[in-house]
């Protein structure tokens, strides 16, 4: 849990003091957020090429303006059931070490500017899988926002 503090501080350096901007996303009704500065693009449904033998969370790859982006199904990564066929879904493209990844979620919402005071650590009761990918929780009006740790989400060497 000790990564939370430096990670947060790094974020606040970039944004207004003590405030951090997040792109919010919905998966299975749960709200998630990732720092807005890590987001490159928000995409609608895309034509995705399946990659055989890849980890099941890897949905495939797609062409984003001439760059190849690897699509990750966040639902499967979080041990949630696969998205229903008829739901189109949306994607958030992030840059990780010079490579682009598209995080497939149910929908992408607005950008929220959140004060650090509302940030909490992961509750110990959280599912271990979720705890691995969550940096902490923001208490919002009426709901909670889980801050996704994108680096861990894309680190397939640990989970396998």
């Amino acid at each position: 849990m000790n990564q939370i503090v430096p990670a947060k501080r790094q974020g606040t350096d970039l944004a207004a003091p003590e405030m951090q901007d997040y792109v919010t996303m919905l998966i299975e009704g749960q709200m998630f957020g990732i720092p807005v500065l890590t987001v490159q693009d928000v995409l609608g449904a895309q034509k995705i090429t399946r990659i055989p033998l890849a980890p099941r969370e890897v949905a495939g790859s797609l062409n984003l303006r001439g760059r190849i982006v690897t699509a990750i199904d966040v639902r499967l990564r979080l041990d949630l059931p696969r998205r229903r066929e008829e739901d189109k879904g949306m994607s958030v493209v992030v840059d990780m070490g010079g490579e682009l990844y598209s995080l497939m979620v149910d929908s992408v919402g607005e950008v929220l500017s959140l004060p650090a005071a509302k940030f909490e650590r992961n509750p110990p009761t959280l599912d271990p899988k979720w705890r691995e990918f969550s940096m902490g929780i923001y208490r919002l009006e009426g709901k909670l926002l889980v801050v996704l740790d994108v680096a861990k989400l894309l680190d397939f060497t640990r989970s396998e």
């Binding site: 033998l53 495939g60 062409n63 690897t70 894309l154």
Partner: protein
């Protein structure tokens, strides 16, 4: 200006500007990685200028490197004094370089004072020695300051540098010394940032003037971006074309056509900017090796093969230094001196061979030498001394594993540190650089025989032509370079996919081709292959291993730019990359190497013996021959080696015509004589008659049979010989006694010029199994004579050319007799005989010429060049006789 020199200048100024930054970083944060980098840069500068004959530069760099070496080994600490001193050395280097650029020679002068200080620092007497000159320098600073500034200026006005030089000549020591330091003392008191900027500007200004005129150096990243933009442009163009295609008379058609052409040209142009033949990276090597051979007193022959192999320039840049290092190492450490070589029984001239080629979607660069090989004992000792492994651990390792230690940092086994190499930079840097671009480097070494480094670089950025295939609805690209051919298999086609215990195979001509189901391999779906109407087999070759990949459909070939897959997918060895096709979709690129490896054939990939020699001897022992089993002229089974049969045909009996009472058909625009197996032609009354077509060059004949039974793979072991014409003997084929038909008997019946007289008897049987080398470019005759000779009791190896035969001599094969064709592409039989007779181990081996042109003149010529006898090509009888006689003569003589 000398190309080599100008390149050196450009390169060195780049290195130097990096050095400035790195050194300052080092001062603030003495990290080993930074130090390693600085050390390497200085080492490179020193190494290169040593070869270019720039002694002054070399000495300064060498002294600087000594200090850095001590720091790296932890013997010296990084103090501001040390950094200042090294910066001074670097400034001196810059000054000399500046002069070099303008006058193409080193300035006169003497660096002994600076070198003395550097050496003092290296020996640990740093503090006092450095203090004094540092104090003295600022005093001198104001005066010489204008000197370097003035130096470039007179250049345009007064081309002769002499004007500026007399001063140092008159008073070499005192004046020259402060002059080069001019840049240094002034900034010394300033903060590092400023100091760093000042020399950079000084060095840059004159550099630009000279180099800028010829070429522009463009950042590769810029090209990369350009490439991406062009790709997008192509995609957009394709979309537009698609939209207009539907309408016939659109006003957009013409401009769009133009746009299309320009886009294509642009795309090609941008692609071209990134590709360079690897020879560019080698251009410097001959000179380096030459100088090295002079310096080390060795005789070195540098051979460079495949210089035209194209490489992405980014990759090229990255492997350039490693390659230079490795060639230098091979020449310096690998090759022995001429005396040592003579003692070891090797030619005086040592060989260093560079070979580059594409293989299975990779670029392979081999650097081999025929020197002494790596010194195992010294590597072991060094590994123990450096604490990399214990004695016990080393004992458990194979020699090849121990060799790998040379890739560890700080590992040098050279006994003395020469100015050339032996400081332990090199191999670890080589490996790091190659691995950074996703390549691998392998090392093979044999004591006394030499070492070979194999660098394998994936086509990360290279452009390849790829075959697009589809399997279970997904499309994949297969690099065209590894595709040999495509076979279409339908439910009712002659050769279908067969299963051996669930392993699919295909009979492809005379071979059994192992198949890999892409669907199963990639777990695309669980259904089997059976239910499809038609499938395609992509016959793929990796190294010496050939296999087929079963796919559903085959599309076109496309030029693709290979992009590496995301790091999270790198573990999947089936893919070498991915790419974006013209229609904008992403597609995975299959890696034939990975597929071969996954199907358990990785062991065959490194097969060193890639010769195409047909080891027919094996067909006696365990290798199997494909045989065509048929019935003709009776109910017993007959068989011929499948390799002899060109085609299987069914002819309409109604089309059979007679001429001179002999049956023939019009076949592919020619008359094809038809021969029956027992002399009396027994055509069916009507319908179609199966015919085995034998063909060699322009001759084609048909052997009429009653029924084609099967194609089988079995050992061809003739158990019963016979004197009956047209029959070689009887063998057990798939558990049944089968008559092996001598195709050679029937051929002369069709064409008089194919054979003289049909053979009646065989030569005396040889029990010692003499070995015969058969050299003939025609596969037909190789296949014809090989079984004939084998059955007569000889051990036959057939090769398709004189070059190959001579290569076998080099490889140490021995024969009792050589039979050679005369008319062959490349080296003909006469030249071959001369080559065999001229020297080498084969001098005494009997040589028999084989030719269809058997005139007296040919006989004469053949005997002059060294053939023992001359046999007309189709006279099997006298061939066998001749062989027996010659072998008997040799035996008698021995």
């Amino acid at each position: 200006m000398d190309d080599l020199l100008s390149e050196f200048l450009t390169e060195t100024s780049e290195s130097l500007s990096v050095l400035d930054v790195e050194l300052v970083k080092l001062e603030q944060n003495p990290e080993p990685a930074i130090l390693q980098n600085i050390f390497r840069l200085v080492h490179t500068i020193k190494g290169t200028c040593g070869f270019l004959g720039l002694p002054r530069l070399e000495h300064v760099a060498h002294a600087g490197e000594n200090v850095l070496g001590k720091i790296r080994d932890g013997e010296l600490e990084v103090t501001p004094d040390a950094v200042t001193l090294i910066l001074q050395a670097i400034d001196r280097i810059k000054l000399i370089l500046g002069h070099l650029e303008q006058h193409e020679c080193e300035p006169e002068g003497n660096d002994s004072e600076l070198i003395a200080r550097l050496n003092a620092m290296a020996e640990g007497r740093a503090a006092p020695a450095a203090e004094a000159p540092a104090a003295a320098a600022p005093a001198a600073a104001p005066e010489p300051e204008p000197a370097p500034a003035a130096a470039p200026q007179p250049q345009p006005v007064q081309p002769e540098p002499v004007a500026a030089q007399p001063e140092p000549a008159a008073e070499p020591e005192p004046v020259e010394m402060p002059a080069p330091k001019a840049n240094v003392p002034a900034p010394t008191p300033q903060p590092p940032a400023v100091r760093e900027a000042a020399p950079a500007v000084a060095a840059e200004a004159p550099k630009e003037s000279a180099v800028a005129a010829q070429t522009i150096r463009v950042n590769v990243e810029l090209l990369e971006n350009l490439m991406t933009l062009v790709s997008e442009l192509v995609l957009t163009r394709n979309q537009l074309l698609q939209m207009v295609r539907g309408r016939d008379d659109s006003e957009f058609t013409a401009p769009l056509q133009r746009l299309s052409h320009i886009t294509t040209d642009l795309q090609e142009g941008v692609m071209k900017t990134r590709m360079q033949p690897i020879g560019n990276a080698w251009a410097k090597l001959p000179r380096i090796v030459r100088d090295l051979s002079v310096e080390m007193n060795k005789k070195i022959d540098l051979q460079m093969l495949g210089a035209e192999t194209e490489l992405d320039r980014q990759v090229l840049e990255l492997i350039k230094d490693p390659l230079t290092h490795m060639v230098r190492n091979s020449a310096d450490h690998g090759l022995e001196g001429p005396e040592e070589r003579k003692r070891a029984g090797k030619p005086e001239v040592g060989k260093v061979v560079l070979n580059a080629y594409h293989e299975g979607g990779h670029i392979i660069i081999e650097i081999s030498d025929d020197g002494r090989g790596l010194n195992l004992d010294r590597i072991r000792a060094k590994a123990v001394a450096n604490g990399l492994a214990t004695e016990a651990e080393l004992d458990a390792m194979t020699n090849q594993q121990i060799y790998q230690f040379i890739f560890k940092a700080g590992f040098s086994t050279a006994e003395k540190v020469t100015s050339v190499s032996g400081r332990g930079v090199g191999m670890d840097v080589v490996r790091t650089n190659i691995e950074r671009i996703g390549g691998t480097v392998e090392l093979k070494s044999q004591p006394g025989k030499g070492s070979t480094f194999v660098i394998k670089i994936p086509l990360t950025l290279a452009i390849v032509s790829a075959l697009i295939v589809e399997c279970a609805g997904e499309r994949f690209a297969i690099p065209q370079i590894s595709v040999l051919e495509l076979v279409r298999v339908t439910n009712n086609s002659e050769h279908g996919i067969e299963m051996i215990n669930n392993a699919p195979v295909l009979r492809l001509r005379d071979r059994l081709l192992p198949l890999v189901s892409l669907k199963k391999l990639l777990r695309l779906s669980d259904e089997g292959e059976g239910e499809r109407q038609e499938t395609f087999i992509v016959v793929t070759q990796v190294g010496t291993y050939t296999f087929g990949i079963i796919v559903d459909r085959v599309f076109d070939t496309e030029e693709i730019v290979v992009k590496p897959v995301a790091p999270i997918l790198r573990h999947i060895t089936m893919f070498s990359g991915n790419t974006i096709l013209g229609d904008g979709s992403v597609i995975m690129i299959l890696d034939p190497n990975g597929i071969a490896g996954a199907t358990g054939e990785s062991g065959m990939l490194g097969g060193a013996q890639a010769t195409d020699t047909q080891l027919v001897r094996d067909s006696h022992a365990e290798a199997k021959t494909s045989l065509l089993v048929f019935r003709a002229g009776g109910s017993d089974l007959k068989a011929v080696p499948l390799a002899l049969v060109a085609r299987l045909e069914e002819i309409d009996v109604a089309e059979v015509e007679y001429s001179h009472g002999k049956p023939m058909v019009q076949y592919r625009g020619h008359l094809m004589p038809l021969i029956s197996i027992d002399g009396s032609t027994q055509f069916r009354d009507e319908g179609r008659q199966p015919v085995l077509v034998f063909s060699d060059r322009e001759h084609t004949m048909g052997l009429v049979v009653n029924e084609i039974v099967d194609i089988v793979e079995d050992r061809l072991k003739v158990e019963l010989r016979t004197d009956q014409p047209g029959v070689i003997g009887t063998a057990v084929i798939v558990g049944k006694a089968t008559t092996i038909v001598d195709a050679g008997y029937y051929l002369p019946q069709a064409f008089g010029d194919w054979f003289g007289n049909p053979a009646k008897e065989y030569g005396e049987e040889e029990h010692l199994q003499p070995r015969i080398l058969l050299v003939d470019d025609s596969p037909f005759f190789r296949n014809l004579l090989t079984p004939l000779l084998s059955v007569a009791g000889f051990d036959v190896i057939a090769v398709e050319g004189a070059d190959r035969a001579l290569a076998m001599r080099e490889q140490g094969h021995d024969f009792d007799l050589i039979i050679s064709d005369i008319e062959m592409p490349g080296m003909n039989g006469f030249d071959f005989a001369a080559a065999v007779r001229s020297d080498g181990r084969w001098q005494a081996i009997p040589l028999v010429a084989l030719s269809s042109h058997a005139t007296d003149k040919d006989f004469e010529r053949g005997r002059t060049v060294g053939f023992n006898d001359y046999v007309a090509k189709f006279d099997r009888d006298s061939l066998l006789q001749t062989i027996s006689q010659l072998l008997a003569a040799v035996k008698g003589a021995a």
